[in-house]
């Protein structure tokens, strides 16, 4: 009966469910300029907040004089730590179990730190007033190098007892935050000692920033009459923000409504809780008026949410034939002035322990030391799942270095070490259970697609021609096979601030057979309103076009932990499918009643329940929906609604094979990407159009990071990259054309087999671009050169290798 007759095919197509490249429902308003972003909000009497920020990276705040600012017409108030202290709001808890100053409490720890908060009638007056606040500082010695910080007598966090343990165990030094370990140290050291070959390298993944096109901001509005606080903002986790606001402000949670309107990109930047939110809430409570705070680009780059900054020292052991026997990694993690990393509580270094990558490595050990420095706090997962990008970059560089050590082809070295298809579910040496994968198939498909052997021949010829002086361009072939770990996560080991990382979906079917679904996540461009309706359409047989998806209003949506770490599809997507199945189960009973048969005698068929063996007798979901509201059915409650809170049994493990072919001009350091091939396996594909769009975008962010983007400081702790002049965002002109491809290995534990995709291209893209640069110079003796590979740094590689004659 389930054969695909043309009639049935038509019904399936009409749903626009799983696998359909459905056009996005969000686009009508965005293309008309009718999006509703936080800075678009306007309310009667709305005031504007702006910060006085520290010009120094480390200094004592001797005094703050707000008189002149207060005297300016239109200034309502100027808040300092002294004003917040009686409320206990001059400090706030961070997501990492540390605390952070909301406004400078006696000292500042990074350039741009919030010192005072001006509230004024409009943004121009606020900006004027910021200039009028006089702050007297006494400069202190600055630490910008984490290795120095661990040796220095200069204590950054005088508020912490140096002898007391931190949130993640003992601290070894006043500037030390935690040590986190995974794997078997002793066994790994033994493997290293006995190995045929050990390759050793320091791999630095530089500090950068997610830099969504819209910066962070909020509008806080305290209604003094009913005691309700409404907070609109660029929140990737609105429900968690509500809980945090309640915990730190003492306002009962039911009196707080958090709304994430349209968000102009997040990429991790909008996960954290920032001083601007707290100050705006206080300002609205104090003034009784709505208060808007929107950071400018410089504030965004300098203060909210850096990413990466991991120094990863690695050792990889192998047999002469290239079989990897062990991996050792010690990471020094620069967390800045406060530990505000956005990681699940039990994972202070995120999922860095996925650093064995796609390889069957029997023995491994990882240790991460977190360190305070005079840099901005943050440590967010910039388009990745909690340090997976760092892990993937580390292992994909180590493989390349090992290939050099073994004098082997790097593609072949990967192939002989991949976890085999028959080994899944695979238990990794660092503690994860990889749910599924078929790496060899993906790898061969990728190598064939780019004509790998021919590329290597061309490269060899090019090197000869270069040596003969016939060309000044080298060819690099950048290989990557990455494995991600996303969809945080099982409540048994994943929480943030004690909140389990489940997610949720609530569905209401309307009497006429259309529906609304609300989720605990929030889209920032991923197209949830489009794709979640598709999941549901396939589950409940109501066309996606008849399903509204709503997120981001804590008064109406069920509780969820939000959208980051590619968790929406793995977790909320699963909740959506499960809630849909509850609807279907009830619909089945209603259908059976209407058809006057036993529940077991009907079965679901696309958009209806049919009597088994008699498909001409059926009830459509539309008919069933109506019946749910207009008939008294014995033993069944009226209505057709369901809610599901989904606690995933495991993470999902998307993977992919990326190949970048790059031309490099040895004399100018310029590069040109000739070809970029990206094969992704994200399990079941919900909307191929959106998947490809996600891959293009993620690859472009990877291109930026690998080839030029960084947050850099001078030795005084001045941030040198605070504008888009200095902070590299590629234009259309610098961005190559990408070829996308896929294999499909469904996740065995996810209700629809989906794994998540948004972050894969950033995780896999960075090593692919970086490996291409390294590969171009491999024949001339390059082993490791730190990112970003801007023109100057590439020129410098060539110069150091003596290629400039």
């Amino acid at each position: 009966m389930n054969d695909m007759t043309p009639e049935r095919e038509e019904r399936v197509a009409g749903l626009k469910g799983l696998g359909c490249s459905r056009k996005r429902v969000e686009d009508a308003r965005f293309t008309q300029g009718k999006g509703n972003y936080v800075d678009d909000l306007k309310m009667p009497g709305m005031l504007h907040g702006d910060f006085v920020r520290s010009p120094y990276a480390h200094a004592r705040v001797k005094s703050i004089n707000t008189e002149a600012a207060m005297a300016l017409d239109g200034v309502v108030a100027v808040l300092t730590a002294a004003d917040l202290a009686p409320l206990g709001l001059h400090w706030m808890p961070t997501l990492a179990g540390d605390k952070q100053m909301v406004l400078a409490d006696g000292k500042v720890l990074f350039q741009g730190q919030e010192v005072a908060y001006v509230i004024a009638r409009d943004r121009y007056i606020a900006a004027d007033a910021v200039e009028l606040v006089e702050v007297e500082y006494e400069e202190l010695p600055v630490l910008t190098d984490p290795f120095e910080a661990l040796k220095s007598d200069v204590v950054l966090r005088e508020d912490l007892d140096p002898a007391a343990p931190g949130a993640h165990g003992p601290r070894k030094h006043p500037n030390h935050i935690f040590t986190w370990e995974a794997g078997d140290r002793e066994a790994t050291e033994q493997v290293l000692a006995e190995a045929d070959v050990v390759a050793e390298e320091m791999v630095y993944y530089h500090r950068t920033h997610p830099c969504p096109l819209e910066t962070c901001g909020c509008v806080a509005s305290m209604d003094k009459v009913n005691g309700k606080l409404t907070l609109w903002g660029t929140f990737q986790a609105p429900h968690a923000i509500r809980t945090v606001v309640s915990l730190i402000s003492g306002i009962e949670e039911h009196n707080i409504r958090v709304i994430s309107p349209d968000i102009g990109g997040g990429f991790g930047n909008k996960v954290g809780a920032y001083a601007g939110y707290v100050c705006s809430v206080v300002a609205s409570i104090v003034t009784g008026q709505p208060v808007k705070w929107v950071e400018d680009r410089m504030e965004n780059l300098m203060t909210t949410a850096f990413a990466r900054d991991y120094w990863m020292k690695g050792k990889i052991a192998a047999t002469k034939e290239g079989k990897i026997t062990g991996l050792w990694c010690h990471t020094t993690a620069d967390h800045g002035g406060f530990d505000a990393c956005a990681d699940p509580t039990k994972f202070p270094a995120g999922f860095m322990n996925i650093c064995t990558g796609s390889y069957d490595i029997p023995t491994a050990y990882l240790a991460v030391d977190g360190v305070y420095t005079n840099k901005a706090p943050g440590g967010v997962a910039y388009r990745c799942s909690f340090r997976v990008t760092e892990a993937a970059y580390f292992i994909e560089r180590m493989i390349e270095v090992l290939a050099i050590e073994l004098n082997m082809d790097a593609a072949e070295l990967r192939r002989i070490n991949f976890i085999r298809k028959d080994q899944f579910p695979y238990q990794s040496a660092l503690g994860w259970e990889y749910d599924s994968g078929d790496y060899h198939t993906a790898w061969d498909k990728a190598l064939n697609a780019v004509g790998y052997d021919d590329l290597r021949k061309e490269q060899a010829e090019r090197i000869e021609a270069f040596k003969r002086g016939e060309t000044r361009k080298l060819l690099g072939i950048g290989l990557t096979h990455f494995t991600e770990i996303v969809g945080a996560g099982p409540v048994k080991n994943c929480d943030i601030l004690g909140l389990g990382m489940f997610d949720s979906c609530e569905i209401r079917i309307h009497p006429t057979g259309s529906a609304i679904a609300r989720l605990g996540t929030i889209s920032q461009g991923q197209g949830h309103a489009t794709t979640f309706a598709q999941i549901l359409a396939s589950e409940i047989g109501i066309p996606a076009d008849s399903i509204t998806v709503e997120e981001g209003d804590t008064d109406t949506a069920p509780y969820g932990l939000g959208t980051y770490g590619s968790r929406s599809t793995p977790v909320a997507g699963a909740a959506t499918a499960m809630a849909g199945r509850k609807i279907r189960a009830k619909a089945q009973m209603i259908a059976a009643y209407l058809l006057e048969v036993h529940d077991d005698d009907v079965e679901f068929d696309v958009d209806r329940f049919v009597i088994k063996g008699a498909p001409e007798r059926f009830k459509t979901m539309k008919e069933i929906a109506f019946a749910a509201y207009n008939q008294a059915i014995p033993g069944i409650e009226p209505g057709l609604e369901a809610v599901s809170y989904y606690d995933p049994p495991n993470m999902t493990y998307p993977f992919g094979a990326y190949i970048c072919v790059m031309e490099i001009d040895v004399d100018t350091g310029e590069h040109q990407i000739r070809q970029f091939y990206a094969l992704d396996d994200c399990g079941t594909r919900i909307n191929p159009m959106i998947i490809e769009g996600q891959v293009h975008g993620g690859l472009t962010e990877a291109l930026a990071i690998a080839m030029g983007q960084e947050i850099a400081y001078d030795e005084m702790g001045n941030c040198k990259t605070g504008t888009l002049m200095d902070f590299f965002l590629p234009t259309a002109w610098e961005t190559p054309h990408y070829t996308t491809d896929h294999t499909v290995t469904p996740s065995p534990h996810h209700p629809i087999g989906a794994k998540g995709v948004g972050e894969s291209p950033n995780v896999g893209g960075v090593p692919a671009f970086s490996n291409a640069v390294h590969d171009a110079f491999r024949a001339f003796g390059l082993r490791q050169s730190h990112m970003p590979h801007d023109h100057w740094r590439i020129w410098k590689i060539a110069d150091d290798l003596g290629l400039h004659g």
């Binding site: 461009g525 975008g697 259309a732």
Partner: protein, 164 residues
Amino acid sequence: MPKKMHIELTVNGQSHEFLAEPRELLIHTLRERLNLTGPHIGCETSHCGACTVIVNGKSVKSCTMFVAQANGADLTTIEGLGTPDVPHVLQTAFREHHGLQCGFCTPGMITRASKLLEENPNPTEEEIRFGMAGNLCRCTGYQNIVKSILAAASELNAAKEAAE
């Protein structure tokens, strides 16, 4: 505080008259005074193009122009390009070809692209990439933006041919 200036503007065919401080930025005039929140602010330093509008027939980043400099000008913003019922060809093409994700760059992108297609009705992919380089997008990687603009160009050209 310097004296306010008397400003006259035509925006999307509608004329406006008001007093403004000479330092008022055009983007703030549009967004806060005239409630045209289609153009966005992504940097305020002329780098991102989210604030792109058309001033007297030219693409302009309205975050780095004083409203005083636009006095007497004729402006078009994304709100003036098309309507929900009769969208501009580019508005349809961006939707058709997935030329947007978060949508924050989109108004500036489409406004700039509309000008680009007037300047060069038959652009190659390369010319589009060059002509759009003043508008940054963090989400799409540009590939589908280029595709959308190419599609809009051929649609506009086909319509022109049919009319001739």
